[in-house]
C-alpha cells in the first residue's frame, strides 16, 4: 500500500482528518504520520531554520526533517494547514520546498477549511498514488500500436486516435451527456484516422467523466488528469526530458504542474472558481457578443491597463465587466483585461504554491486564446510554449499511456 506522509496542522480540529483519510483510502493509499520524539522537535526546527511559534507547526517541521533524513519511510507527502493562517501558510510553502530539495518524494500542498470533503482531494491523492505506483508507465515517451485517448472535461470532451506515435484522428466538442458526447467524438476521430473500433488495441480515459466513460468503453487506463495531462503536454511540446512547468487552464479549474522528465513532482489545482478559469472568459465573450475563439485576437489589440478588472471572484469580475462596458471602454481593452485578470488569478493562487521551472508550457482549451497566453507571458516574464493541438493534452496523454498496457499484457 502506498504510504502518504501527512504533515499538517489543524486537521483534527477542523473535522477534515477523516476526509483526508477517506480520500487516501479510496485511491488505495494510507495516510501515515512520521514518528518524532518530543525531545527531537526543537533540534529539527533549528536544522530547518524557520522557527514558528505554534507547536503543531514545529511538529510538522520535525516530521519533514525525519523524512528528508530517511529516518521515516514514505512514498509521497501531503502538506496541509488551515486556510487563512499566515504562519501555517509560510511553513507549508517552505516545507514543500524543503521536501523537494531534499527528497525525490512527490508532494502536494493544500489549505483547507472545515468544508473540505474527500472528493476535493481525490484527484490530488490519485495523482500522488499514480506517480508512485506507475513510475514505469509514466516514464513512457513513445506511443505504440493503435490506441485511443478520451478526455471528458468539465466543458469539452476530446478524443484522439494515435497510431505508432502519431496523432491520426482527433475531435472535440461540448461535454454534455458524457457517454453520448464521447461516443460521437470517438467515432469522428476514428473516421478521421481511418481506423475501426475493433482495431483499437487500448483506450485511456481522463477528466471529470473518466470513470463513467472508462467503464462504458472498458478502458485499460482510467487516470486523473494531473499525470495524464502532464504526459500529453510534454509529448506535444517535445519536452520529454528535463524540467518544465505546465500551466493548464481548463473550463472549470486550472492546474500548475512541475515535471521532471515528464513525471510530475509537484502540482496545484485551482478550486472550482470561474474567476480563474476559462469559464470567466466565456462569460466575457458572451457579454462582448463574441465567440470565445475570437476573444484572444481581440484581446491582443487591447491594453489591459485601460480597464479595471479583478476576477478574484467571478461575481466581482462580472460587476467590473458591466461597469467598464457601461463606461464605454473598448472591446479590445475589456478582452485584454479579462485575460490579464484570469492570468493574475493563476499567478496569485496557483503559481505561488510551486516553483516555476523553465520552460513554461501552456495547455488546455484556453491556450488557444492568444490573449490569454500573452497575458500569462507578461505576468511570468517569459513567453509560454503552446504546443500544437494544446487542447488535446489529456486525450493524447491517455492514448500514449494506455499503449503502455499493450506490452504488459
Amino acid at each position: 500500500m502506498i504510504k502518504i506522509a501527512q504533515l499538517s496542522c489543524g486537521t483534527e480540529y477542523s473535522s477534515v482528518q477523516y476526509e483526508i483519510e477517506k480520500a487516501a483510502r479510496s485511491v488505495g493509499a494510507k495516510m501515515v504520520h512520521p514518528d518524532v520524539e518530543a525531545a527531537e522537535i526543537e533540534s529539527c526546527v533549528e536544522k530547518f531554520g524557520f522557527n514558528p511559534v505554534s507547536p503543531q507547526l514545529k511538529l510538522m517541521i520535525a516530521r519533514a526533517v525525519h523524512l528528508a533524513e530517511g529516518k521515516y519511510d514514505a512514498d509521497a507527502v501531503f502538506i496541509a494547514t488551515c486556510f487563512r493562517c499566515a504562519e501555517g501558510a509560510l511553513v507549508r510553502n517552505e516545507l514543500r520546498r524543503y521536501i523537494q530539495e531534499n527528497t525525490r518524494l512527490p508532494v502536494v500542498t493544500y489549505s483547507f477549511t472545515e468544508r473540505m470533503k474527500s472528493s476535493q482531494l481525490l484527484t490530488r491523492m490519485e495523482a500522488l498514488v499514480t506517480i508512485v505506483s506507475r513510475k514505469e508507465l509514466l516514464a513512457r515517451e513513445r506511443q505504440s500500436g493503435i490506441t485511443v485517448g478520451i478526455d471528458s472535461g468539465s466543458t469539452t470532451t476530446k478524443a484522439v486516435v494515435m497510431v505508432d506515435n502519431q496523432i491520426e484522428g482527433m475531435a472535440w466538442g461540448p461535454s454534455g451527456e458524457v457517454i453520448e458526447s464521447s461516443s460521437s467524438l470517438l467515432e469522428e476521430a476514428l473516421q478521421q484516422a481511418g481506423v475501426k473500433m475493433s482495431d483499437v488495441e487500448a483506450m485511456g480515459t481522463t477528466g471529470y467523466g473518466r470513470f463513467t466513460i472508462g467503464k462504458h468503453f472498458n478502458a485499460k487506463l482510467v487516470q486523473e488528469e494531473l499525470t495524464v495531462n502532464s504526459k500529453g503536454a510534454v509529448w506535444l511540446a517535445d519536452r520529454q526530458r528535463g524540467e518544465a512547468t505546465i500551466i493548464d487552464i481548463g473550463g472549470m479549474d486550472n492546474k500548475a504542474i512541475t515535471v521532471r522528465d515528464g513525471v510530475p513532482d509537484n502540482f496545484t489545482m485551482g478550486g472550482i472558481c470561474a474567476g480563474a478559469s476559462g469559464r470567466f472568459l466565456e462569460i466575457v465573450s458572451k457579454r462582448l457578443k463574441l465567440e470565445v475563439t475570437e476573444l484572444g485576437a481581440i484581446a491582443d489589440q487591447g491594453d489591459w491597463r485601460n480597464v479595471r478588472m479583478n476576477s478574484y471572484c467571478s461575481i466581482f469580475g462580472i460587476q467590473d465587466l458591466v461597469t467598464t462596458l457601461a463606461e464605454g471602454k473598448t472591446r479590445p481593452d475589456v478582452a485584454a483585461a479579462a485575460c490579464h485578470s484570469v492570468a493574475e488569478q493563476i499567478y496569485e493562487q496557483q503559481l505561488q504554491e510551486i516553483d516555476v521551472r523553465q520552460p513554461v508550457i501552456q495547455v488546455g482549451g484556453t491556450s488557444l486564446i492568444s490573449g490569454m497566453v500573452n497575458a500569462m507571458g507578461e505576468i511570468l516574464g517569459t513567453q509560454p510554449i503552446v504546443p500544437p493541438h494544446s487542447q488535446y493534452i489529456g486525450a493524447v496523454g491517455a492514448a500514449l499511456l494506455s499503449s503502455g498496457f499493450l506490452e504488459v499484457v
Partner: protein, 144 residues
C-alpha cells in the same frame, strides 16, 4: 470549584487541582467525552462541522477553522470555569493546544471572565518548581 487550566492538557496542573480538592476543566475529560460518544464519527477527536460552527461564538468566520475547532473544545470550559491557573512560557511538552493563536485567544478569554486567576511562570529549576507548587496550593486552598 471548577478550575480551568492552561495549558489545558497539562497533566501536572490537572493533578495539582485534583489533589487540592477542586475539579480541573481540562482537554483530557472533554476529548474523552467526545471520543467515547459512539454516535459521532469524525476521528480522531470527534470535532465535527457543527462544533466548528459553535466555535464562531469565540472567533469570527475569518479565523482559520483549526482555531474555531479548538475553541469549540476549550471555549465552553472557559465559560464554565470558576477560577483559572495560567502558566506562561510552558514548553510544548508540558502541554499545549498546538496553535499559538488559540493560546492567545484562550488566555484573553479567561482573563476577560474576571474570575480568580493565578498566573505562574514555567519553573526553570527544582526550587522554582517547589515555589510553583506552593503558590498553586495557596491559590487553590484560598478558593475554598
Amino acid at each position: 470549584m471548577k478550575i480551568f487550566i492552561d495549558p489545558p492538557n497539562s497533566l501536572i496542573l490537572f493533578d495539582l487541582v485534583e489533589r487540592f480538592g477542586h475539579e480541573p476543566l481540562s482537554t483530557m475529560a472533554t476529548i474523552q467525552e467526545r471520543v467515547d460518544n459512539l454516535e459521532i464519527d469524525m476521528p480522531p477527536l470527534n470535532v465535527t462541522l457543527e462544533d466548528i460552527q459553535k466555535g464562531l461564538k469565540y472567533a469570527g468566520i475569518e479565523v482559520p477553522s483549526g482555531i474555531r475547532g479548538r475553541m469549540a473544545v476549550w471555549g465552553p470550559l472557559i465559560d464554565e470555569a470558576e477560577a483559572a491557573i495560567l502558566m506562561n512560557d510552558a514548553p510544548f511538552a508540558f502541554g499545549c493546544v498546538g496553535c499559538h493563536r488559540t493560546n492567545l485567544l484562550v488566555d484573553y478569554l479567561v482573563k476577560k471572565r474576571k474570575i480568580p486567576i493565578i498566573e505562574v511562570e514555567y519553573p526553570q529549576d527544582e526550587d522554582e518548581g517547589r515555589d510553583l507548587v506552593l503558590k498553586v496550593k495557596e491559590f487553590l486552598e484560598g478558593l475554598k
